[in-house]
Subunit: 465 residues, 2 copies
């Protein structure tokens, strides 16, 4: 076989690949909403059937939450063994009214950039990316009857909802899942046409806080001024989380374990990376709003932050209601870098709330996951061939970059399986991940699939003939 036979198979099979992706996108596998549990299982079953049909031994594995998908295919004797990780679950779709087409009825549309776009919830995150790898395996098998190396796939269903069952699953199945390197397709490129491998990922701590004052909703005329207003209490607490002038998080000890960016990396990013206006312009912003003294790219790639992801209390509909509510709620997340300790930060947040809680109020907390930042050593031997393979496909040097998002599995794989990960993804900043009208460029899907063919070929130690 030759590499080019497999790449041709990708090209000629694109329509069929796309059809399969659409089938998967039609399954509304929203993991955080209990009503969609059967859909999560349906997505897992779809993957098992698909991989089985391709010749993998594939099965779902039960967890206390949504099932895992595990599949194996052996390569030639002595070839390396890779573990591919992805997730089949997706984010909720609200606000539904902002979608131009139904989130689970995928369509191919002409995007404003001139690219064809696959539009659906999960198009980029992560079903589209998972399918680039699966379709690459399909093309390699088609070209040569077998894969150039041994492949295990682990596709989970709780990445978007805390993912507490992944680490126990890894720990319970170390023999089966151990490989030479993990491959993860859940990240982005440096920009359109600019391939990249991500080596720094932020960790995350999610917290929900509910402030309760009176034992029922009150009339704000009768009680306003005298009765404690939990929305006001919550706003005071949230306002105190960040210093308005410096943009820094105020929790004591928050910056413990946050490394300085080394000047060389900083200079490189300054050269190849987008400016603040370029990063933020497409979403209607112009200035890096976070920690002052850092660019937008630095703020998201290698500086920690605190975000309010949701807030709710009182009357939120149209019109006005003079209510003084009994409760108010906020969902808060912290993005972590370096060796910041998620549980120490969770404790510091709760102490921050308790210290600001007036008499007559109580605070309740719900933990929504916690994971450390992930660092991939840039010395790992699989990195150079993978970068070279990407460069060959995109005809652009492949960059080593950071990523603001959290992919806890990187740390969990290191911890449970003792393996490092190569994070190779084909997402773009304008993919509207987690937002209405999520999309994945057709060219990212197509060239992403071709990229994996080249990367697997290169990791197998073969010359690109």
């Amino acid at each position: 076989m030759s590499l080019h036979t497999a790449l041709s198979a990708v090209d000629t099979g694109l329509d069929a690949s796309l059809k399969r992706l659409f089938d998967l996108l039609r399954i509304p596998s929203i993991s955080t909403q209990a009503a969609h549990a059967p859909d999560c299982r349906a997505a897992a079953n779809w993957l098992v059937d698909t991989l089985h049909d391709m010749g993998f031994t594939a099965s779902t594995r039960e967890t206390p939450g949504h099932p895992m998908v595990v599949a194996h295919a052996k390569g030639p004797h002595g070839s390396p063994h890779v573990l591919f990780y992805g997730h089949y679950d997706v984010q909720p779709v609200d606000p539904l009214t902002l979608w131009h087409s139904a989130p689970f009825e995928p369509v191919l549309v002409d995007g404003p950039t001139g690219e064809k776009e696959i539009t659906a919830r999960g198009a980029a995150d992560d079903k589209g990316q998972v399918m680039t790898f699966i379709e690459a395996c399909r093309a390699l098998k088609q070209a040569d009857g077998t894969l150039p190396l041994s492949v295990t796939l682990l596709i989970e269903g709780e990445e978007e909802s805390g993912g507490i069952n992944l680490l126990p699953f890894l720990e319970a199945n170390t023999e089966e899942l151990k490989a030479d390197v993990a491959l993860i397709c859940d990240t982005g490129m440096l920009g359109r046409g600019l391939p990249a491998i991500t080596t720094m990922l932020r960790g995350m701590v999610g917290e929900e806080v509910i402030i309760t004052a009176a034992n029922r909703d009150l009339h704000s005329g009768m009680y306003g001024n005298a009765a404690r207003n939990p929305i006001q209490v919550l706003c005071d607490i949230v306002a105190d989380l960040r210093d308005g002038a410096t943009g820094r998080v105020t929790l004591p000890g928050f910056y413990d374990g946050v490394p300085d960016i080394d000047p060389q990396t900083r200079a490189l990013w300054g050269k190849i990376g987008p400016s603040d206006a370029q990063s933020l312009g497409p979403v209607g912003l112009s200035l890096a709003a976070g920690e002052q003294g850092y660019t937008a790219l630095e703020q998201t790639w290698c500086r920690p932050s605190c975000e309010i992801n949701g807030i709710s209390g009182g009357y939120e509909e149209n019109g006005f209601k003079t209510v003084l509510p009994a409760k108010a709620m906020a969902k808060v997340s912290f993005r972590l870098v370096g060796t910041q300790d998620p549980e120490a930060i969770r404790a510091a947040f709760r102490a921050h709330v308790q210290a600001r809680l007036p008499a007559d109020c109580t605070a309740d907390f719900v933990a929504h996951g916690g994971s450390r930042a992930s660092l991939v050593p840039t010395t790992m031997p699989f990195l150079p061939p993978a970068l070279k393979a990407l460069e060959a496909e995109w005809q652009q040097p492949a960059a080593v970059i950071g990523c603001g998002g959290s992919i806890p599995v990187v740390t969990e794989i290191q911890q449970a399986l003792g393996m490092d990960s190569l994070l190779i993804g084909f997402g773009l900043d304008d993919d509207r991940v987690h937002s209405p009208n999520e999309k994945y460029d057709l060219s990212c899907f197509h060239k992403g699939t071709r990229s994996w063919v080249r990367v697997l070929y290169a990791l197998a130690g073969k010359n690109p003939d």
Copy 2:
């Protein structure tokens, strides 16, 4: 006729009165929700039919919003003429899950105080109170074939939703609506069994502010830190509205026109009024949370305040979503006293927001009504006989008190018709007005009806026997 014949008619007719009240309570006349516009009209029609059957000339009158109900019945030649004002519209019912029975299926239940309670949205505010007056008129007519004085009723349908159509209606119908005194039944008693006439009412300014940052929802991993978070901006703005230490509103000029409480009134309220623990204990609170240096009663009766009545942004459902929303919204109200100017305070609030708005953000505002505080002169000649009539019914001295709520009609009647109002109501602090499980004590309905019989008789200049 004698007063006692009419009072007996109230007693023997109580079951029938209650049945009529329940009929009115079954109509879900929520004025702030457009879907309930037909129900508002149905409530107006029900009142017209009921008053017509009692011998009033009664009709609905169109406005740009919900219709007004106007009815007239003549008393003896030379008798005084009163204008009764009430409202048939009610507040929204959310959160519905907290109701023990359906809000528009009124029931009579044994309350925790040992009193029988009429439970339904509008039971106290204001359908139950309106019906005390109507049923008093019925008993007086039944006892003597006619009323002891001339009565005009004006019952509106937009009190709970800004009420912008009332003043133009008053101004357009001054000849028809002009009387010697206005009677308003939309306030409370000093406590269970303690009758009162309210002479101070706070005004109100309602504002909604929407902060917009990015042009779409963003992934908080990809953009968190760099992209401006409108929830954070909103919380900073809200936190700055009040001084945490003094509880005072920080808007420049906010306290212009706020009178000091006179020491005599203060001493009287300190003697007859409830303590902070008594006022706030029933709702699960113990400390007056507002402007320091004032009791809970003073904070609500004669000090201005700022309350957040609703807040919303990002992901508010169960679970967690790492979204950085494009928008966040708050509904804010200010309660006004003395001569505070609603429009000056609205402008100061908007300036407060604009001054704190970071680059890349915009603020949009929606005005939700504005009215000055109302003061009834304690020198008006109708006040002493009304106080005496109440004392006769309740066998307790009737007090002159303040009220934290806003009843803009008092000022509007002064302005358009040049008349003062007697605010006589039978609500209690534990009526859960604007909250789930709103109720009106059966004894308040019954003795309230009897009270109006006595008050109308007294205002007609007749001796109670």
